[in-house]
Symmetry: D2
Subunit: 282 residues, 4 copies
């Protein structure tokens, strides 16, 4: 049936030109194992260039390098909210262990400390709904109430500190360890992802951001979704594996692995130490 | 810092009303273990109602039931293209085994056979780019060329049957086993997901669809992304676990498991047999 | 060049079915001059049905009727903020006369009074930016500062009551006459339109809304954009012409006229009296 | 009620920094009357800089200049399809005069000739639906059939040359005068706008485009909508007034005027001669 679909012939020229550029970059990669910051695409760097070592790329067991322009890079700290990694929040109420979602806080804190000395933009996201719940799908509300044994999104659990996942509620806030500071950006989102249910894309456009360095929780839900959506829109995504976590270890492992498949199907994977080291010169 | 955010007080009334509806549905769930088709939300059914048993819901080891209105349900068959599960396509060129992505074809074919006797809408999606590559991010092109040892998206591999992931190319077509038939819908998408990079949402709105039954490949990439995006937009999503597959078994397992977390964080999970059985009365 | 584009032949069947339905509705329209609520598309009504007379439809000089299901209708009250129609707000600072944007308040107030006695959902939108301006394009900021003789978005004008177009600022609030009441929905948007830069579409989906009745300001900017975007997504839009206004009379007239072109290119046009009358039975 | 909304205090610092940049640009504007290409935002130019004179900006009767980077500029040629400006197309079938929509072809052709000698990207858009009509809202179909006296979208009019507004149909093609040539980009859209119902935004991102020069038809429908959506997303939009037209003269005038309101609420307005002159040095 595929042969029934046919497009305009004039489209071939632009493809040829793109393939020429690709061949050049491919040949270069054989020598340098580096995904250079694409000046031909985005223009001269606005900040400083730096290279991060990425594991299992292009194939498992191999190492490649991803180059960033600090002036066009955002460090994305996703949903480190009390509800997801703090006591008496949403995850705690569902009785999942906090260990897995709280551990990445340590590495993320260290990355943040270093990033804050550069011109890399820091963006924090928060999942949360309006106090009238108008932006929350009903099935999400109902499932949360059932798994929460009667206490779901919008309700304050017994002994809890705030209404679950509600903007302005205490449990919705970001935990102390990685709290935003003056000048950093907060993006509120009404779902797991961010591109269709928040202004993240608009904010990134306003800043001229092309590359994302991703930390946050949970790996298999919000982090994976945002990375995939961003990747679909052309952002160059680097996931820091010790700066993310999931409520289940197998799910965490799978996110890291699936990101690495197909030569980096959603982006690249590195860790906090490599990234901090890479920022040395900037 | 959370306490610094404050919203309008008038928002509280709508929340109270929603929580009342939730309490009613929660109490009912304790008795019936069923997520009824929400008539109060979407109106009287357009087609026939039927209930599907869902595993590990709300918690692992438990079973619940999800009710559908056939007239508002779409069966989504995601990316069963030669490029992802056929010989000489994209996945084959990258030397991943075809087994995992081809196996779900059998169960999907059986579901399709049964679905086609009902008024459930069948929608097929295809990932693919325009022949000039204008809708393909450059990093996607480059990574595919590198992992493909010089042959990536837009190029025809040695001994291959068409340009990889290009609309109209032979390898981009859907495999015979689950090929679309007359009257079924084709949605072409320029990425892994579908909501931001295709017209899927628009097509579903035009049809008045509220519930999705999901099959397709690959589980950890396109299927997971589309399910998450659809869930964020309020669609009720059921994943048929034997109708999906990944190039890696661990990644497949994780998608199934992570969907079940938090009482069904992205939706519900069932299998082809349960779903076919559920359609008995319609 | 058009002949170079060719699609799959299986697509023809669904077209035939749709054309059959269209022929039926077309024939009916010749007799009844009515756009019935499409039960075949959205299902049985959730609320009560009522019909509104629409002017210059399908052609100039003619009258047709648009049927609504109150349970699937939202009354959209767009951007009646101090910044757009009140003293010392954005429009006032730019020295445009307030008359044109304030006049529609009277008719809108009357419609609101009547709508509040029905099950029609009331949604208010507000254009405004986050206090850090991160969601505001730089060119918008700069142009507003220049036309405002040095005082633009984010700044408090001399003798003004708040920072212009900033969420939470006093001048950003909705004017008393059409202020939201308990149980009504507030949608905040970061632009003129609403579909790409707010959660309006998500909120409408959550409520199962299919038809919009539109009031608000300004006619040629936010109202026209939201109506067009909503129309593109399949919403049935009715504009109440005396419930909208523009800073320029010619621009206002053109919005009303262009909406009526092509048999209703963006939707239908009526007025407050006709709409209030139509709600008699509900 | 506005005073009930309160945001985090840390947001103030970023605002201060933005206001400082704005003050600098505002002061500069007083001297140079120029909206410079914002290097601080997008980086060093990729191509050549050039300045276009814009009429009635910032206020009516005044002239300002908008600077472009040729390497980040796209010339958008909107919907010059037979259906909108050719014989036996959609507009012709509705019996609107073709004069108004065909006139801008002459100026657009001249601009295209000159643009093709630069590195400015040329993008053509086309409104059209899939041959199964799945991406066309039902109310759009019905209204087009009624105003077309029985022949609407998807149907071939008596004596016509193709099915109206259907991708691949002869009347859907772009007219000879401004036909795309090799290497130019085609964006197909399922609505009047482009951001929510096509891949235009994705294509622009892939190319690193920040500024748009807009031509096309019809002024009050597709052109106005796309310009507004693009403006909301931060693109710097220049409308060439003699390169656009509407089926109604008053509606055309209003689009030009409303674009100029508020210091350029959707962007800037110039004409083909000024733009061609501005390209002299590139």
């Amino acid at each position: 049936m595929a042969e029934e679909r046919h497009y305009e012939n004039i489209l071939s020229k632009r493809k040829e030109e793109t393939l020429k550029q690709l061949q050049k970059d491919y040949d270069d990669f054989q020598k340098n194992k580096t995904f250079w910051y694409p000046i031909w695409q985005f223009g001269e760097p606005k900040g400083k260039l730096f290279k991060v070592g990425c594991e299992d790329n292009p194939d498992f067991g191999e190492t490649s390098y991803l180059e960033f322009d600090s002036g066009r890079t955002a460090f994305l700290s996703i949903d480190f909210q009390i509800d997801f990694c703090g006591e008496k929040g949403y995850v705690d109420v569902m009785k999942y262990p906090l260990e897995n979602t709280a551990t990445p806080l340590i590495a993320t804190k260290e990355v943040l400390n270093r990033v804050r000395k550069t011109d890399i933009t820091v963006i924090h996201t928060r999942e949360g709904h309006l106090p009238d719940l108008s932006d929350c799908p009903y099935n999400k509300l109902l499932r949360s109430k059932i798994i929460g044994k009667g206490t779901g999104i919008g309700e304050k659990p017994k002994g809890g500190i705030g209404e679950l996942l509600i903007r302005g509620s205490k449990s919705w806030g970001i935990v102390k360890e990685v709290e935003p500071i003056e000048g950093e950006i907060l993006v509120d989102k009404s779902g797991k992802g961010a591109m269709g249910v928040s202004n993240l894309h608009l904010v990134l456009q306003n800043l001229g951001i092309t590359h994302l360095v991703i930390a946050g929780i949970t790996a298999d839900v919000c982090v994976n979704t945002i990375m995939t959506e961003a990747n679909d829109l052309g952002y160059w995504c680097l996931l820091l594996k010790d700066c993310t976590g999931a409520t289940d270890n197998g799910n965490y492992d799978a996110v890291i692995k699936s990101t690495k498949m197909q030569g980096g199907v959603f982006g690249w994977v590195s860790d906090s130490k490599s990234f901090i080291k890479a920022m040395e010169g900037i």
